[in-house]
Amino acid sequence: MSVAVSNADPPATVGPGRGGVVNDFSITVATVNGSGSQTANNTLLRAIHKMGVPVSGKNIFPSNIQGLPTWFTIRVNRDGFLARCDETRILVAMNRATIQEDVRTLEPGGICLYPGEEEPVARRDDVTYYPMPVNELVQQSGAETRLRPYVANMVYVGTLAYLLGIGLAEIEEALAYNLNGKEKAVALNLGVAKAAYQRAAAQMAKTDPFRVERMDKTEGTFLITGNSAAALGAVFGGVQFVGWYPITPATSIVDNLSEYLPELRCDGEGRATYSIVQTEDELAAIGMVVGAGWAGARSMTSTSGPGLSLMAEFAGYSYFAEIPAVIWDVQRMGPATGLPTRVAQGDLLAAYTLGHGDGRHVCLIPASIAECFEFGGSALDLAERLQTLVIVLSDLDLGTNLWPARPFEYPDKPLDRGKVLSAEDLTRLNGAWQRYADADGDGIGYRTLPGTGHPAAGYFTRGTGHDEAAAYSERPEVWAANLARLAKKHDHARSIVPGPVTELTAHAEVGLVSYGSNDLAVQEARALLEGTGVPTSYLRVRALPLEQSLVEFIGNHERVYVVENNLDGQMHQLVQLHAPAVAGRLVSIAKCDGLPLTATWISGSVLAHEAKEKA
């Protein structure tokens, strides 16, 4: 710390070629759970985003309220590659308990910020250390004792702002945003951040190359979680009934619904056009959703693995009795309680076949904020159109981390309420109708809702065998015909669910198939592979059942890697069944360790297999 910088301007960049490492690195903030670092981390994220630089954040946190270690990784990338990355260049080591281990994970040439009062840190020759006077600045801030751990985090915000060149104006705006404009809180936190900034400017000699420089790449975009987008999608998709039971990481869908519905869906007297019921368990949640769906309401629940398991019997019931319902499954790591705060895509097969006996569910798999919003509404449309359960498979990474997004687009299609006969329709038909007859050749019958004021409207809904007129039947041919019609309906679903997104590269031998929150890592992996002379095409599955263009995609490539975040390669298995003629071309690239996939892992896995193939 020899060179004192006298004014508060950000330091000139040092390092290779003066440009240094600009807008391309990742930061890991190691803290203790419950110490309030979320505000600090989201402030950094938003400030960098506001400087026009693509940025994302991943919260790697424990299943605990207070005390266990937690890590927040921020990736800054000028090219917009915002998947999690394996390498950490900047470490903010606020957690004494993990500091030794955290320092070990730094890339050579990395930097480590740490509370200076708390020497010793694990010293490495290839790392630059910046001690921060955390206790001193917190004490000077005059914060009440109870608030001190929180404002302590502002010391690293201010220090990083100085070292990386993040604008204080952006920090201030981001703080105001994250603290909901609460003036006192903003002033206190900003005071500490500024003090840290000035202290760094006065005493730190910057010897590292890392810098944030303004760009114009985030113009018109914002950061938001997938769960917020899902909730907004449901609000604008006309959701009427929500039954739910709390579970990480799905709870914030209902938190968001509870925030937006009262604002947007009440009449002048504050009376609601929707109902949200916190139930006694997930059996009741899905039961209420199915009951409300049967009565004609657009109904949904949100849950995660353990809750999904409990919903299995009603899932099969919804399929067989043909009642619209939507489950948002924000996947976390299972089996069992698993890692409740870590991500996985392990519910795919369970969701697709949820329940006993034959039966397949329509599943939607969003990969972006835009798709979370879109599927929030279209899942309700599809459920009513197909008179069946629709499961949306989001996950912890997409659902609860901040992702960049363009402004939401207002739905351009009216709500699809499906085939429902009104009293007038029944009068026109002289009361002649059959609930489960395939009148239109798409496998979907017409239904009536309870309370339809027509003497011929009533019919009996059951989970037992029934004929076209909904009467109880155990006749083999009636049973077989009914299941065949349900299978036909599922086939029809193939043509109306969101199709895959495909990016073809001319003459590419290698195809990649993936889905959901892997998207950013796959896109980045494609760039890495291209750089090593392996051009790829990419097909991203957005729904089950799978459809025909996937088969063609596989047929058009020598080798097709199915990339996913689970142990068994669950999508790989489904694709094999879907495209048996070309299944020999499929290779499973699957991994689950609780973390989002990274581009280097994907490209490395593909290259390793390619090498074997060529050897």
């Binding site: 947007l264 059996l283 009951g291 309401a297 809702l449 003497p455 009533g458 037992t464 009467a471």
Partner: protein
């Protein structure tokens, strides 16, 4: 005006015959108590001129839960999952407050697998009539002991029950239910009056009806048998239900022997005392009565507890007056401007 009490007319208010309220032919065993109860539902609906196009029937799984197909054939009905009828009914009635909801369940369906949903339904006070066809046994799965089986009860293949029974009336009262009645399939007159009153109650009305299973639990000594019921049924009162628009004829009661309870819609239940001093609005009194008679293996029938004071679930929810399912789509999707505001907020 039809003479409701006698039920003698051949056509009721909407000009329907009693047979119009039937369902399909029952497949219960001959003599099954459930049959008698289904018939009483038909009778009560006919007497009340219930609008079948507004009725929604709910049930779980069991012999008892099959009964909704055997009454009110013109109504919508849904036969759900074992023990999960309460959640289906909660969802449906919340989104359509116009429905007249009637649920049928068994003692296994309610007292074992569905006990949690039952208690939470009552805690919420969902507006519906909830009938338990209580035979102390699992009928449909052929005679296993249920949670309402008597202590010491012997079943042919299952041995002796060593566990104390749950009293579903007590469970209902403890969960906050505002209309708790017990009756006996062998006493259709009492049951029908209770049922009619239940339809006028706001919130959940529970009718726990002893309903002998002639195939698996009608033996000597079973409190759920016809013979036991005939000997040990102690009616608390004689019951008359007077619908709201009934022209009252009070003359045939001596003053002081009648207690009247006004229900939510203005209807009146008239309880004629049978000797015992009993106040059905006294919650602890009801609990004490049920506790005391547990050991004596008698069962008091009649209206055990009534409290019209609680709001029904849908009222708590502060919903628009129009049932949610009848709202036009325009009311369900906020405006484009609203979305633009949200976009601006996140920026």
């Amino acid at each position: 005006m039809t003479d409701v009490a006698k039920g003698s007319a051949t056509a009721n208010q909407p000009g329907l015959n009693r047979a119009d309220y039937n369902g399909s032919k029952s497949t219960f065993c001959n003599g099954c108590g459930h049959n008698a109860i289904a018939n009483v539902i038909v009778g009560a609906a006919y007497d009340l001129s219930l609008d079948m196009t507004r009725v929604a029937k709910f049930s779980g799984i069991g012999c008892s839960s099959k009964s909704p197909t055997y009454f009110l054939g013109r109504s919508h009905g849904i036969n759900g999952l074992h023990g999960r009828m309460p959640s289906l009914a909660t969802g449906a009635t919340t989104v359509n407050s116009d429905l007249i909801a009637i649920g049928v369940s068994g003692d296994g369906d309610t007292g074992s697998i569905g006990l949690g949903q039952f208690k939470h339904l009552l805690r919420r006070n969902v507006d519906m009539v909830y009938i338990i066809m209580n035979n102390g046994v699992y009928g449909l799965t052929k005679g296993q002991l249920s949670a309402t089986a008597d202590l010491g009860q012997k079943l042919k293949h299952k041995g002796v029950n060593e566990l104390p029974p749950l009293d579903l009336c007590l469970e209902a009262i403890m969960a906050g239910c505002g209309f708790v009645a017990r009756s006996f399939a062998g006493d259709p007159r009492q049951l029908q009056e209770l049922l009619k009153a239940a339809f006028s109650h706001r919130g959940t009305a529970v009718l726990n009806v002893i309903s002998p299973c002639v195939s698996f639990n009608n033996g000597e000594g079973s409190t759920k048998s016809y013979s036991w019921g005939k000997e040990h049924d102690l009616p608390l009162h004689e019951i008359n239900f007077l619908p709201m628009d009934h022209e009252e004829i009070r003359a045939d009661y001596e003053p002081g022997t009648v207690r009247e309870v006004e229900l939510h819609d203005g209807s009146v239940i008239r309880l004629k005392k049978t000797g015992k001093e009993y106040d059905p609005t006294d919650r602890m009194g009801a609990v004490t009565l049920l506790e005391e008679e547990r050991n004596g293996k008698v069962f008091t029938t009649g209206l055990l507890y009534v409290n019209e004071g609680r709001q029904a679930f849908a009222e708590h929810e502060m919903l628009v007056v129009t049932p949610l399912v009848k709202l036009p789509d325009e009311k369900l999707r906020p405006s484009k401007e609203a979305l633009e505001k949200i976009n601006a907020k996140y920026r």
